[in-house]
Subunit: 347 residues, 4 copies
């Protein structure tokens, strides 16, 4: 009953098998091997983006901040949601990689950036001259830090604002597969066709050991990305072992089946909560995460039964007799685990 995070789950057996199969003799290092090309081709294929630059790295933070560093000047502002992972959980990595660009925080329900608020902020800072810190990029997360999803239309609305202000648009897709499944959208419609310039395409939380793809839909960023990956120590020498993971995930739609399991389990959990006295969802469940307000009693019971999960609160939202809890489902979560959790919560 581990609902603490999808990065507590293991790797899918196909990924391990892919690694083992890749362990075959000598090959060129630093990504100049055949498997890396094949894996990158699969990424381009599922995104219907034959011209995209694809680069693999081992962490989501690396994918996010290398992406942002390619499109932001040190004196610019990156607009992101107040609760964006790049603001709350990356220890200043965006600032480090961009050479000191500022994150400017935009509100929005469910960690979905509000387009009007973005428009307002971008216009304001664009007018502030040299000292203000000029608008440079926008970063959104799909699915969001509160488990919500951006649909193609929602992305298009943000990208219209971004384009008007000449801002690059980055999507943190640490849980991109869950967003694809959650929206039912085509991956291309959810990204470049809706105006996304750079995608952090997550593999780790979706059944890999540790791999994310930086996808630059516009090839012009390739050089900066390559230098930044190298310079930040994120170009793995025995690169085939990164590539093998993505290669396995994208084979025959495995990545979508794994994400579908996570999303389904979240839905199952959400339904189960309906019958629990005093429980309510803090957010609609649209992907793999369930945020629920529950009586402290229920929390205690679940912990006593051995479930792991985290309390979750934005800044300013203190809890009292009630607590907001986050339950993350993963590719490996089972219906039995979900049912046991519900039982424990119900008491």
């Amino acid at each position: 009953m581990n609902f603490a995070s999808d990065n507590c789950s293991g790797a899918h057996p196909s990924v391990i098998a892919g690694l083992a199969a890749a362990n075959d003799g000598h090959v060129a290092s630093y990504g100049a091997d055949r498997l890396t090309r094949a894996a990158a081709d699969r990424v381009r294929e599922v995104l219907d983006a034959p011209e995209a630059e694809v680069m693999f790295v081992a962490t989501g933070t690396a994918a996010n901040v290398i992406s942002l560093s390619a499109v932001t000047q040190p004196w610019q502002r990156i607009f992101c949601h107040e609760e964006a992972h790049i603001e709350t959980s990356e220890c200043g990595a965006p600032e480090m990689f961009t050479g000191g660009a500022k994150l400017t925080l935009i509100p929005g329900e469910g960690a979905v950036m509000d387009a009007d608020a973005l428009e307002h902020a971008a216009s304001f800072w664009a007018g502030e001259g040299l000292g203000g810190g000029q608008p440079g990029a926008v970063s959104i997360t799909n699915s969001t830090e509160w488990g919500r999803v951006w649909t193609p239309d929602m992305v298009a609305e943000i990208s219209a604002v971004a384009r008007q202000h000449k801002l690059a648009l980055h999507m943190d897709g640490a849980r991109f597969a869950n967003a694809v499944v959650g929206t039912g959208a085509d991956p291309a419609d959810l990204t470049h066709r809706a105006g996304v310039d750079l995608l952090s395409f997550g593999g780790t939380k979706n059944g890999a050991l540790g791999v994310e793809a930086v996808v630059a839909f516009d090839g012009e960023h390739a050089e900066r990305l390559a230098f930044m990956r190298k310079r930040s120590g994120h170009l793995l020498s025995k690169h085939r072992y990164l590539s093998a993971q993505f290669h396995a995930l994208l084979e025959d739609g495995l990545w979508l089946r794994l994400a579908a399991n996570a999303n389904d389990m979240a839905t199952r959990l959400a339904r189960g909560l309906e019958d629990i006295e005093g429980a309510r969802l803090a957010q609609p469940v649209e992907s793999s995460q369930v945020f629920a307000v529950l009586p402290v009693d229920a929390e205690d019971r679940a912990r006593a039964a051995g479930a792991t999960f985290n309390r979750w609160a934005s800044i300013g939202e203190d809890t009292d007799e009630e607590v907001t809890l986050r339950f993350v489902c993963s590719w490996s979560t089972t219906p039995e685990e979900v049912d046991r959790l519900i039982e424990a919560l119900r008491g």
Copy 2:
């Protein structure tokens, strides 16, 4: 009738005279000259801080960010007001000099940081572990970006929060003299005795050509400050010409007389506005700046009469038939100028 900024005003004749007097033959460079020692001694004296480290630089941004760089790690957060100059007007200099520390914005009326909000934010981020970006420092501005003043008690309240969280406390005193005059407080009571660790002591806006003092009340920061000043190109070689300015300003209380004039003129202007139909103060006038909401008509009349000043709005505060205007008085503003402005506004 220039009310655009106190940095549009010139230098006081005594400062020019001090410069000319300093222009006497060869002296040691890089601050190893007698006049620099004498000027630093005067700073220590007016602040009653005999052990303080004092360093002169040519700009307020330099003073602020060199100060902050000495007490902040790259992975930390600096708490400042939403409208702090270091956030809105320094083009990311704090991020550049600290190696990427984050500014975390705290609300508060009149650009005075709210102590409870600081306590809340510091506690929150302290609990967020490695990824969160740990609290590192607090920066407040006195007098504030909206012309308000921090009294010793207000500073002490913030410093209590800072101390509890082991945060260094920096005061941006670009208009420190105006705050001293506005509060009537002893400069020592307003700074180190109330818990301030580092002060940017402004000279430029108070009648100098361009000089600010970095004052570190705790000598332990001296080494970092010295390296950072050098490394950022802010150690002037013919240093006597910076020092001469401060030396002149601090002679016989000139700095306070100059600030008193600016504050008096602001008060005179505020009183004059009372009689203008449709005018109201946007903020109480406590130092040298007047923020007033006025009919667009009045604005037009004043501009037609040749007055210069700026519209002023926080993010989100759009104006319509009414505008928020900022009028900055300086050491050289005359009662006649103020009266002519009032007349023009009144129509």
Copy 3:
């Protein structure tokens, strides 16, 4: 016949097996799992350093520059050899992670830093005051970029200079195992007992997929290291898969057996070269790399036979009819491969 680099070799089967075994259910993420503790304990054990801080990362560059960032101020100099990997092959990562510290290059035969030259440079820059860039750290590579090894005595000689100037001493041990085998020294004698403060302990080139350990013998650096790893995107969430690799390598001395094979193969190759007309060693062979000057004809023959390897030249050492070639042996190089290479070279 791949002698291009030991990072072209695969992973040892025990490492893959270790990974698969680690793939067992949910565990705590970000290194808070049992396997990570066990792997770190093994590192401490082989180094006889029970108090050491041990952190795993996925690349050698990350290990090097996170280490250096913990002991260097942005305004300092890091002394390294002219041909040190951190200078020639990391795309400025040391500068990025330290916030701009300078690499100051020291000569020395075989990429072994000359102790007198270090003493001279450290004294010189220590005397250059604020502007000069003060000495901060020393980094040496063992085994070196030219395949030479540092013995405990040699390390002690450098560390004596370092200590006198209060410089932290870092050892880039991307091929540390090869140095241990090549010197026959105890790993502790080669590092902390000889004055090394920080070790990048390489796993990747010695049979792992991609893992290096940052080892800080002095626990005081733990906090900076942890923040820098997180901030640079190098803290892997599913951390067990890094740890499992080191855990497998250090089991029952596997790491030393693997390195011994590489070193033995290099010796075998060196001997074979003795009989080749016009061939000579460019450097004594002391670990796993062979640098040899060979007629261009021999090179052509070897390439025609399918061997891969690189030309190698320092700055300034151009080649003509003769070429300097680098042959890197690895844990998986076989005697047959070596013999075939020799045969091909001989013609």
Copy 4:
């Protein structure tokens, strides 16, 4: 008898007079004033560069590193002489402002970069791929740190190498006036007509209080330069007082007359040294600095007579009974001072 540095000299009376004249009422701040435009126009005029971007800052380090930051990526190398001021005396400012670019040191007699050595290094690093750190810019100093001058032909030779490798060419002209006088060349021939892209045009050492001009002959760099000046705290608010200094220096050729005095005094000193037993020039005297090898006795006598000057040695050039001394002449050095120094040295 101060020959320690030309930054120990004062300001020319015309500069002080210019400042006083500029102190006239309210003007626009941050460089939007008429005097700033007029001063920039004079810079463009003396350089015959009507399209050049001109920006004033208060220090030479600021001018150098803001210039370099506009044309260098963080992952690139800047080639400069081993004894370039940016390497030896700016505390890592180039690394700070460029976000971590590397300085790669090129040898050359008299601190004049050797063009062949540059060609060799640029070719080498261009071939080193991602990891190597790609060539980005070249910086030369005129007159050099050893008082030598670059003629237009010499500059053209370096710029040919730079152009071939697509490197921006920067000239540190802290003593540019002395180089112009020393070569007798037209300022335009010595800079943009010979391929210089960016010039740090020094005022401070040539009779100002503290002002240097960043001159970008190619207007495309204007935006980066402006942001970097602001972001680094080097945009002075009461900007007229910087501009006034350059305005005064460039009036009626004053800058060249001042430099001519410094150069003449150096020549006079060099001639005087001819008659001193055991004295010899360490470098030909081509501008305002004299480097001479002298018996320690002579040094002692000069110091006893009250002369100030510095010992000067490159790394590795230790002295024994003989010392290498640097004597810097300035705009204010008098024949009498020179003669007294010679007398004291002679004994």
